[in-house]
């Protein structure tokens, strides 16, 4: 256990605002040459944007989630069905049609994330799962909620899951999440 306690202080950004750095008072060949040995100046720059994203032809999927419905896409002729929406079939090139998918399936693959991207750090540990649905040919990525991350094991694969929908939609794929069916 002791070797899991970090001995290194975590590096963070922020700190004092610095308005000057050491620099030779006089410039001459000697001091100019010394500039080659100067440490680099590092500055913090805020890098932030608000981006307007369009779900385009996939929008009904998110409208469906916000109304408690899981929609998928189906090739009208071959019946090839995608639980992760796709406006056109990858084989026939035909435009797909919307179909309702019963939000019950099986865990195809999963992981427990103990670390991650900045946007999700506060949610760690969380469980990602690829869910397979009866009658569908591909998978859907979602969160598995209500399981103990410490009990993760390959035996989770194949277990039945049922989708639940957020009451307050965020209009992201996490508007549906999954629980194990005990």
């Amino acid at each position: 256990m002791a070797d899991r306690i970090p001995a290194k202080q975590e590096e963070t950004l922020g700190g004092y605002v610095l308005h000057n750095v050491p620099f030779p008072r006089e410039l001459n060949p000697e001091t100019l040459a010394l500039l080659k040995h100067m440490s680099p100046i590092l500055i913090e720059q805020l890098y932030s944007i608000t981006y307007v994203h369009s779900y385009g032809q996939d929008s009904p999927f998110f409208a469906g989630l916000s109304n408690g419905v899981l929609l998928g896409c189906r090739d009208p002729e071959t019946g090839y069905t995608y639980p992760t929406p796709r406006g056109h079939d990858m084989y026939s090139g035909r435009e797909t049609e919307w179909v309702e998918i019963k939000p019950e399936g099986k865990i195809h693959a999963f992981t427990v994330c103990y670390f991650g991207s900045e946007a999700f750090l506060s949610e760690c540990p969380f469980v990602l799962t690829q869910v397979e649905f009866e009658g569908c040919d591909t998978l859907l990525l979602g969160r598995l909620v209500g399981v103990d991350p410490n009990q993760a094991g390959i035996h989770w694969i194949g277990k039945q899951v049922r989708g639940r929908f957020l009451r307050n939609s965020k209009f992201t794929p996490t508007d549906i999440y999954f629980n194990l069916v005990e």
């Binding site: 070797d3 899991r4 590096e11 950004l13 440490s39 680099p40 590092l42 720059q45 890098y47 994203h53 779900y55 996939d58 995608y82 639980p83 992760t84 929406p85 796709r86 990858m90 084989y91 195809h108 693959a109 999963f110 992981t111 427990v112 994330c113 103990y114 670390f115 991650g116 991207s117 900045e118 946007a119 999700f120 750090l121 949610e123 969380f126 990602l128 799962t129 690829q130 040919d137 591909t138 998978l139 859907l140 990525l141 979602g142 969160r143 991350p149 993760a152 390959i154 694969i157 194949g158 992201t172 794929p173 996490t174």
Partner: protein
């Protein structure tokens, strides 16, 4: 297509951070090394080269659009032809192949390929976010965008399908870190044990911190030329090492961006489109039939069809029938120990489903190095003798080119000169493969490099 020679290369020291230089100056370190290694001055070479290709992965990490031309400008290569290529983790491998195309097609006689990434400008979790933007931002990223998580999911399926174990994966980490102990360009040069790997902090179950490559700052460069280009360089005084190294063949493959969309082929299509020549035996067909009967479907999320397509095409072009026995070493894209295991299978070093036992067999280890492991079999084809991404680091736009440079040096027999240590020199290496990989197996390149007679 014309014969293309890969005559020289250079790599900057890969490091967690290189605040001492801008990206252009880091690229110049690698470029200068490649030019000086054939005995030319900067001005001379820049007159002789016909053009270049530059690669970097992320405009977010660079926080600079058109950073490629800034590197080209800094190297003094304007106004000659140049373009930037980008393809996720395979960016460097694609760059190498684009330079090959320029020469093979006759467009250029001498082409420089260089790539870089500077990933230290943001904190690790923001870097994870930038990388995860290379997944579908509508359906993958918002669920918990994190590449280690994606790869962890894939390997849980591999474990389920084939019985692969975390200890088998840890063999890859031990091997690659210990190899890198002898590579001065590597970012992490440590000796680890299986226990160290498994007891490291868990990042995404079952992958620990030591199963995963790190973010890096770094650059790499390679020089490719035709017969005519070689003659031009040598007439100007270049000392191009013999034996010459030529590009024996290239291959590329792709797959759906979202791993959830990976289609399942029929058994007949699996055999028709994916079987490698050496697998086309009654014994292996029976093996795959048994797997299929047990529920195996291809490619699924456990295998990289793009890697198999790239390998198949490269082997065909380089006339390789049995990769394990006809390739002397492989530098492959081990962003994760699990992906090295998966890639053994895609590249046909073993059959699908056998990657785990292959990892622990000893076949992919370097001879003559003490790994502290009880390996049941002798090395046949060392994989990632340089230490791979796991130990060298992964400055994305440079990584595939780094593999090319190490492969050039292996085939020249000059590892001792460049590493100042001959431990990692593959004895009598005649043919090597480099493998670059993007996304969750979205773009994959395989290039075969060969020692000339």
């Amino acid at each position: 297509m014309r014969t293309v020679y890969a005559i020289s290369g250079g790599v900057s020291k890969f490091a967690k951070a290189r605040p001492d230089k801008t990206f252009q100056a880091v690229v110049k370190e690698a470029y200068d090394y490649a030019v000086q290694d054939i005995g030319l001055e900067h001005r001379q070479f820049n007159q002789l080269v016909d053009g270049s290709v530059v690669s970097y992965f992320s405009d977010h990490f660079a926080r600079q659009l058109m950073a490629g031309i800034m590197a080209t400008d800094y190297l003094g290569l304007c106004p000659k032809p140049n373009h930037r290529v980008e393809g996720g983790g395979a960016t460097g491998g694609i760059c190498f192949q684009e330079a090959w195309k320029a020469v093979a097609s006759g467009y250029m006689d001498v082409c420089a390929a260089y790539g870089f990434e500077t990933m230290s400008h943001v904190e690790t979790w923001k870097g994870n976010e930038f990388i995860a933007l290379a997944s579908d931002v509508s359906f993958d990223y918002p669920v918990g965008g994190f590449y280690t998580g994606y790869y962890a999911m894939m390997v849980t399926r591999h474990m389920k399908e084939f019985g692969t174990t975390v200890e088998q994966m840890a063999h890859v980490s031990v091997k690659n870190h210990i190899n890198a102990y002898h590579n001065p360009y590597a970012q992490k040069r440590n000796r680890y044990t299986i226990q160290d790997v498994r007891s490291a902090p868990m990042v995404a179950w079952p992958l620990t911190r030591l199963d995963i490559c790190v973010m890096s700052d770094g650059a790499a460069a390679a020089i490719l030329c035709s017969e005519e280009g070689l003659a031009r360089l040598e007439a100007a005084g270049a000392h191009v090492p013999r034996p010459l190294v030529k590009v024996g063949g290239i291959g590329r493959g792709t797959d759906a961006m979202r791993m959830a969309d990976r289609p399942h082929q029929s058994y007949d299509d699996f055999l028709r489109y994916n079987l490698l020549p050496h697998e086309d035996t009654s014994e292996t067909r029976a093996y795959y039939q048994d797997l299929w009967d047990a529920g195996f479907r291809y490619p699924g999320v456990h295998s990289f069809r793009a890697g198999r397509m790239a390998s198949r095409e490269a082997y065909k072009n380089a006339r390789i029938a049995d990769p394990l026995r006809e390739i002397d070493f492989v530098e492959l894209h081990d962003a994760y120990t699990s992906s090295e295991v998966q890639t053994y299978e895609d590249m046909g070093l073993c059959r699908y489903g056998e990657g785990g036992p292959f990892a622990a067999s000893g076949k992919a280890f370097m001879p003559g190095i003490d790994y502290g492991l009880n390996l049941p079999e002798a090395p046949i084809c060392p994989v990632n003798p340089s230490g791979g991404l796991i130990a060298c680091g992964h400055p994305v736009g440079a990584t595939g080119l780094m593999q090319a440079v190490f492969a050039i040096w292996q085939l020249q027999g000059s590892i001792g000169k460049h590493f100042r240590d001959s431990t990692l020199q593959v004895k009598n290496a005649r043919r090597g493969a480099i493998h670059s990989h993007a996304g969750t197996g979205t773009y994959v390149t395989v290039s075969i490099l060969e020692r000339g007679e």
